[in-house]
């Protein structure tokens, strides 16, 4: 449905996109994840045609070559971050805009527009002014306006960025349901790893105009392939170590202090003796019973109460670690002498 190969885009001296390729299948929910300045919005604008890239090898939408087509001629529409609704038109006129542009007669266009508004539960406000809507309602109008022309691909530029927490979570579910019922390809831009993991079929993580890692939400969450990916996906503990042996994807590492542990190697080509990093999520670490294998000696240095959970700072043979304990568990008050984790939860990748 969407094929992009080798996009390069420069603004003067700044390279916003450097040799990026990605694709999305029919009905796929693809998320481009990255912090601001990662090039994710530029990527979206290149796909929509609002930005003409410095160079691109292949740019196809629904099989049609669109590399030289203006935005108006491409079979995709954008949901803008600030909604970009026309203030001089009513809600239903906004939604009907794309249809009227395509010379559909007024009565049919308004009927289609009302149907699209019904899909986002806003038919009751069809005749309102845009200024009379709340942020969440504007978001829905923008969605209805973008899908009413039935584009092959819907591009969403941080559409939930301006909404509050509760509304955002509701809209995430609604967006997923809408995407499934329409069977439309969604390309979704966000800086929130939580949004990316909740909604997507596939996630592309970008940084400095390059793709850092891409894969299913679980792959990104549990198998980061670099320090950047691990940090972005919220790994609290990233420790330097040396790989001393590996067997398939299983690896054994030695920490500077001499302690050893096992984990999963996520990148090809690492061999014994290479400098690596071991990443561990704080909530996957637990106090170990006396005599457990692979357990590390630990000493509590600090406890921070954070409402739902408690963060416990530990000094261990592997270095300082953070352990997260859900509020109410026995770990909260007990002293911790040894800690351990599931081998699957320790991720090993090359140190930069």
């Amino acid at each position: 449905m969407l094929e992009v190969e080798d996009v390069v885009h420069r603004y003067g001296m700044v390279t916003a996109l450097s040799h990026v390729s990605l694709s999305a299948g029919r009905g796929e929910f693809l998320t481009i994840l990255g912090s601001s300045g990662s090039g994710k919005t530029t990527m979206l604008r290149v796909i929509s045609g609002l930005e003409m890239p410095t160079s691109v090898k292949v740019l196809r939408i629904g099989g049609a070559d669109v590399a030289n087509l203006p935005a108006a001629k491409r079979n995709c529409t954008t949901v803008f971050q600030n909604y970009a609704l026309f203030p001089h038109m009513s809600v239903v006129e906004n939604v009907a805009y794309g249809l009227r542009i395509r010379k559909m007669n007024a009565a049919d266009a308004l009927r289609e527009a009302r149907r699209a508004l019904a899909m986002v539960q806003l038919e009751a406000k069809a005749d309102r002014r845009i200024s009379q809507l709340s942020g969440g309602e504007k978001q829905r109008v923008a969605l209805a306006r973008a899908v009413v022309t039935q584009p092959a691909i819907l591009l969403l530029d941080e559409p939930l960025g301006a909404l509050d927490e509760k509304l955002r979570q509701d809209m995430q579910i609604e967006l997923m349901e809408l995407q499934r019922s329409l069977g439309m390809t969604f390309v979704y831009i966000t800086h929130s790893q939580e949004e990316a993991l909740t909604m997507s079929d596939r996630v592309v993580l970008m940084s400095h105009g390059r793709i850092v890692q891409s894969g299913g939400p679980l792959d990104l969450f549990d198998r980061p392939e670099s320090r950047f990916a691990a940090e972005f996906m919220g790994y609290e503990n990233i420790l330097p170590a040396r790989l001393i042996g590996r067997e398939g994807t299983a690896g054994i590492v030695e920490f500077p202090g001499g302690a050893r542990t096992r984990g999963v190697v996520t990148v090809e080509g690492l061999k014994a003796g290479d400098a690596v990093c071991v990443a561990l999520r704080a909530e996957r670490i637990a106090p170990a019973t006396e005599g457990a294998t692979d357990a590390l000696k630990a000493e509590v240095t600090n406890r921070v109460y954070r409402g739902k959970y408690i963060d416990i700072a530990l000094a261990t043979d592997a270095g300082p670690l953070r352990l997260r304990s859900w509020h109410g568990s026995h770990v909260e008050s007990e002293d911790i002498r040894r800690i351990g984790w599931n081998t699957n939860d320790a991720v090993i990748f090359a140190a930069e």
Partner: protein, 284 residues
């Protein structure tokens, strides 16, 4: 908040409405031997219409509307280019400065220069004859309706462009991108988004251009050379003859004409879009 609104309304009433009412009232008096007779009568108004001032009125209307239409036809594209075109920051600043500088100079001194340029032995005719394009100097360049029109178009260009420029720059770029993204051609974006949203500026431009054009006095005097009499010239001659009721009636008549034309303009604007709703862009 309410107090402020009432104060503004009061100030506006005292400063704008009261003089117009007084003016209007004066037009129902007459003068005898350079003295105003304070007895209400419609003589002045009847004389106004019977004394051949119709011709002057029609000419004034025609010239004012022609000037306004030319301003709009040239000013709107210019304002659009200045606000949304590929103009650099420096280019835009220079253009805005050039639009502002004429306000520092008096209209008369700006206009009188054209005499030297458009006259029989002026710059234009000298160049044309030097190039052999004409044998005799073009006499319609100065002291003609063309010259008056030209002078007024030049003078009233900034007042037309400025409000339109401001209205167009207020339009969020993403609205234009959204229109483009939804499949609209540049012309469709212009007619469905830019023009409706810039209507407040266009209306202001028309008011700022039509009003002064109806009351123009410098250009017809200096570039018309007495051949192009407009209402303002009638007002002036009535004023120097101390016939204040005639001055009042003529001025009131200009105001009425302006109101009529603005009303017509509003009706025309309604065909392009809801003028009331286009003001919403100002509120965001």
């Amino acid at each position: 908040m309410k107090v402020a609104v009432w104060l503004i309304v009061l100030a506006w009433f005292v400063l704008v409405i009261v003089p117009i009412i007084v003016l209007f009232a004066f037009s129902f008096f007459t003068t005898e031997q350079f003295r105003t007779v304070y007895t209400p009568t419609t003589t002045t108004w009847v004389e106004l219409f019977s004394s051949g001032r119709w011709e002057v009125t029609l000419r004034t209307l025609r010239i004012a509307m022609t000037v306004t239409l030319i301003e709009l036809a040239v000013g709107f594209p210019f304002a659009l280019w200045l606000a949304k075109g590929r103009v650099g920051k420096v280019g835009r600043a220079v253009c805005l400065a050039m639009l502002t500088i004429p306000f520092f100079l008096d209209v008369s001194s700006r206009t009188i220069v054209w005499r030297a340029i458009l006259g029989q032995s002026g710059l234009v005719n000298t160049v044309l004859m030097g190039l052999g394009l004409t044998d005799a100097p073009l006499d319609w360049l100065l002291y003609s309706e063309v010259a008056v029109l030209f002078g007024m178009v030049v003078t009233l260009f900034p007042p037309m462009v400025m409000p339109i420029y401001l209205a167009i720059s207020l339009i969020d770029d993403t609205l234009l991108e959204a229109s483009n993204d939804l499949g609209a051609s540049p012309w469709q974006t212009l007619s469905r988004v830019i023009i409706p949203l810039s209507l407040p500026g266009v209306m202001a431009g028309i008011v700022f251009s039509l009003g002064p054009a109806l009351a123009a006095w410098v250009e017809p005097g200096m570039l018309g050379g007495g051949f192009v009499n407009l209402i303002s010239n009638s007002i002036e001659s009535a004023y120097s003859a101390l016939r204040y009721p005639v001055v009042a009636a003529l001025s009131a008549f200009v105001i009425l004409l302006l109101l009529l034309m603005l009303g017509a303009m509003y009706l025309i604007a309604r065909r392009f879009g809801d003028p009331a709703s286009s003001f919403r862009v100002l509120r965001g």
